[in-house]
Amino acid sequence: MAEPDFEAQLSRMFAEPPSFPDAALFNAEVAAKLDRGWAMRRMFIAVAGGAAGLVAAFQLLSTRFSNEVAQLSKNGSHTLENEISASVAKFNAVLTTPSSAEAVWLAAGLAVVALAFFVTRAVEDF
């Protein structure tokens, strides 16, 4: 048999998948592994989102954020310009609080991202 013919024949022989009596079991095992992996991923996302949210909430509560918001609403009668400049000043004040302002925003950002990711995945899943 000529070499190219034989190689083509060999490729065809390799391309014919063997039949396995336990093929259904194999497929089911892969599906179960996929489901387990998916469930673990969802649980991890939920835990991470929850933890990030808790950290964010704790950080927000431990700052003077609520006071600043109340102050902002009190100044509602001021002119728009005054309000904006006051808001900017308050915003900066929050950012520069001694209780690690960066951590607040980082945690809040992470919480939002984690929550959004979780919601997206949950919607896709159900």
Binding site: M1, F14, K33
Partner: protein, 191 residues
Amino acid sequence: MGMERPPTGHDVELAAQAAAGDRRAYGELVRRHGSAVRGLLRRMGADSATADDLAQDAFMTGFEQVAEFRGEGTFGAWIKKIAARLYLKKVKREARLIFSDTVEPVEDVMVRDASKDAASRIDLDEALKSLSRGERLCVSLCYGADWSHAEAAEALNIPIGTVKSHVKRGLDKLRAKLARPEEGARREAHG
């Protein structure tokens, strides 16, 4: 409550759905290509338990990476490549990748069925047993997983010339083994 119908469509469409998180679509790809991957791993020399474990790992890895499958080649070739790499990683880790001429006994794991193509499969699986581990790996990678000689050389970390010589010797042995039934049949026809 009726049973859900399995997803239909081309492999590329199913892969795109799987990339979007559709596990049922991926399950259909597993159903279509599971036996081919399991068969390839056995033909490369893995025992049945190892082959099935690695085939499952390959499909799990495939699910994680399915977004990278763009349909340039076939899904079958893509998933076989993942499976072959996993097997090579395993034999390298176990330091069992020895390119000697020794023919190692390999478990006879292929299923014999009564279909028309079964004879050629059995022939191939029987014939592969006459190859050394290196020949068997190189031939299986190049003809079973559609790897180029260069890809096989890189994955096996051996010179490309070594791959070519293993393939050539492997093909010679397979040709001799696979030709025998034909010759026998011819003799019977003439006799």
